[in-house]
């Protein structure tokens, strides 16, 4: 299955994110090998797989939070992290990296909000500090982003006063405020109590239906199946299978995929059985 076949008709000619032969090692431990992946504009791609499969590392290579050792990563046609010279690839300066990755915004598993600043200041900081936006304009943009995630009322609160779900929604607002072309979501709900997961998933779903390009690492299989255009299954640093949610999650034909998804199947069957019994 070609991981790069898209299910959206009329895909843009230049992919938002393009990875060719990407590899990464931590010391002697090989974390990623031979990754080829394209993400087209407007696509939602989910990365699934067991712990240690390299999904998060792969995601972090897309905004160079991890420096990949092999291959090339392109963001909207610009090479990320390195420069092509006569002698081959040379590490790029911090400025160059910032420029290439500016269309990419990330939402973190641990939220990574700045606890000493108000919610509004958290959302404004990338605008005023990184993009040099004027404060009144930044306030307006940030206000819109907060409204989009439903947290306008909490603008003057400190992150510590918010629930986990609310904090993550602020994280999403912060990413939205910079008006990215691509959003990377690193297990956005893994650190949340179960009852707070839905509010975050709702926001992500509405973003996807607005056409935001997203790459998401997640363990929420039902959600991934519902919202994704493509699902990529990884194991031990390689892409093992990729395709539509139907082919990969609902009706997997790959034996390792089936093994990985078995617990989820069991739980969702029990869930639908219980729901059926209650009906």
């Amino acid at each position: 299955m070609d991981p790069n076949s898209s299910t959206r008709a009329g895909s843009a000619p230049v992919p938002m994110v393009s990875m060719r032969g990407v590899g990464k090692s931590f010391g002697s431990h090989r974390v990623l090998s031979g990754i080829d992946l394209d993400v087209q504009a407007g696509e939602v791609v989910s990365l699934i797989g067991p712990s240690g499969s390299g999904k998060t590392t792969l995601l972090r290579c897309m905004n160079f939070l991890e420096a990949y050792d092999e291959g090339e990563v392109w963001i909207r046609g610009a090479l990320l992290g390195y420069r092509k010279t006569g002698a081959g690839l040379v590490p790029e300066s911090d400025r160059g990296i910032a420029e290439v990755r500016s269309p990419v915004a990330m939402v973190f598993q641990q939220f990574n909000l700045w606890p000493h600043m108000t919610v509004l200041a958290n959302v404004m900081a990338p605008l005023t500090l990184a993009k040099g936006m004027r404060p009144d304009r930044a306030r307006a943009v940030a206000g819109e982003a907060l409204a989009r995630v439903g947290l306008s009322a909490k603008a003057d609160a400190l992150p510590g006063a918010l629930s986990g779900g609310q904090q993550q929604r602020v994280g999403i607002a912060r990413a939205l405020a910079v008006q990215p072309e691509v959003m990377l979501l690193d297990e956005p709900t893994s650190a949340l109590d179960p009852e707070l997961v839905d509010e975050v998933l709702e926001v992500i779903k509405s973003l996807s239906s607005d056409g935001m390009t997203m790459v998401m690492v997640t363990h929420e299989m039902s959600f991934a199946a519902e919202v994704s255009d493509r699902v990529v299954f990884m194991e031990q640093g390689r892409i093992v299978a990729a395709g539509t949610p139907d082919r990969i999650i609902r009706r997997p034909d790959h034996p390792r995929l089936q093994a990985f998804l078995r617990p989820w199947f069991r739980r969702s069957l029990q869930g639908s059985a219980a729901a059926g019994a209650q009906a």
Binding site: N63, L65, D94, A98, R101, S102, A105, M106, F108, Q110, N112, L113, W114, P115, H116, M117, T118, L120, A121, M124, A125, P126, T128, L129, A130, K131, G132, M133, R134, P135, R139, L158, R174, V178
Partner: protein, 236 residues
């Protein structure tokens, strides 16, 4: 010792002790502030370039020396060694310099601990959003470090005030020396030294109370928020 004359005696001690206390506070204040600035510089030097190389090693040796040897020995060395080489240092200046250098070693480690208390994820997120390392330090790390290290800095300030008594040994007219002077004149060591003790206790208690009050005020949203929201955009 009847109460009336005790009171009279205490009143007689007052001028000498107050003058001494003023010196104590002066030496301590200089030591704490200069120690903080030097400590910050030391930390900067030792974390540059990821902590490898000659400079971090030198800082490590400096800290180990100043934390591992008694202040008295450091004072004796700085006071007597230069005079052996023909240099005459004024005692007060020498005392302030040594105490600052000593405090710097401790404050460097306090700041180091404070810096590592800021979760790396917050720094990473800031960098990922394109915020420059200098801005990250000023707006993300510094406000949080300030809050985290404050109690330890207050403790260090109290230690400096106590350590300052040692400078009396090299002839600085501080509070402890004031006490010795009085005792040499009136031969009432128990009473005089206990008064000196109470004086120090008042000073350290005041620093502690002040420090706690400031700590409580820091609990509220820091100025960093307001600054970010109101600043005029400056590209770094």
């Amino acid at each position: 010792m009847n109460a009336a004359t005790l009171l009279e005696r205490l009143q007689a001690y007052l001028p000498v002790l107050l003058a001494g206390a003023a010196h104590t506070l002066l030496v301590s204040a200089v030591a704490i502030v200069a120690g903080f600035m030097l400590g910050a510089v030391l930390l900067g030097l030792s974390t540059a370039r990821g902590g490898r190389g000659v400079l971090p090693a030198l800082v490590s040796v400096y800290v180990s020396f100043f934390r591992g040897t008694p202040l008295l020995v450091q004072l004796l060395m700085v006071f007597y060694l230069p005079s052996a080489a023909g240099l005459e240092l004024p005692p007060l200046a020498a005392a302030m310099a040594v105490m600052a250098a000593n405090s710097a070693a401790f404050q460097c480690e306090i700041l180091r601990a404070g810096l590592s208390a800021v979760p790396g994820g917050q720094v990473e997120a800031a960098l990922a959003f394109g915020i420059s390392p200098r801005q990250v330090f000023r707006y993300i790390q510094l406000p949080q470090v300030a809050r985290a290290v404050w109690p330890a800095v207050v403790s260090e300030a109290i230690d400096v005030i106590k350590n300052s008594a040692i400078v009396s040994v090299i002839a600085v007219a501080d509070l402890a020396r004031g006490g010795r002077q009085i005792v040499a004149a009136n031969f009432r060591p128990l009473e005089v030294y206990m008064t000196v003790g109470v004086a120090y206790l008042l000073m350290t208690a005041a620093v502690f109370a002040g420090g706690s009050w400031i700590a409580r005020r820091m609990e509220r949203a820091s100025a960093a928020s307001t600054r970010v929201v109101n600043r005029t955009a400056i590209r770094t």
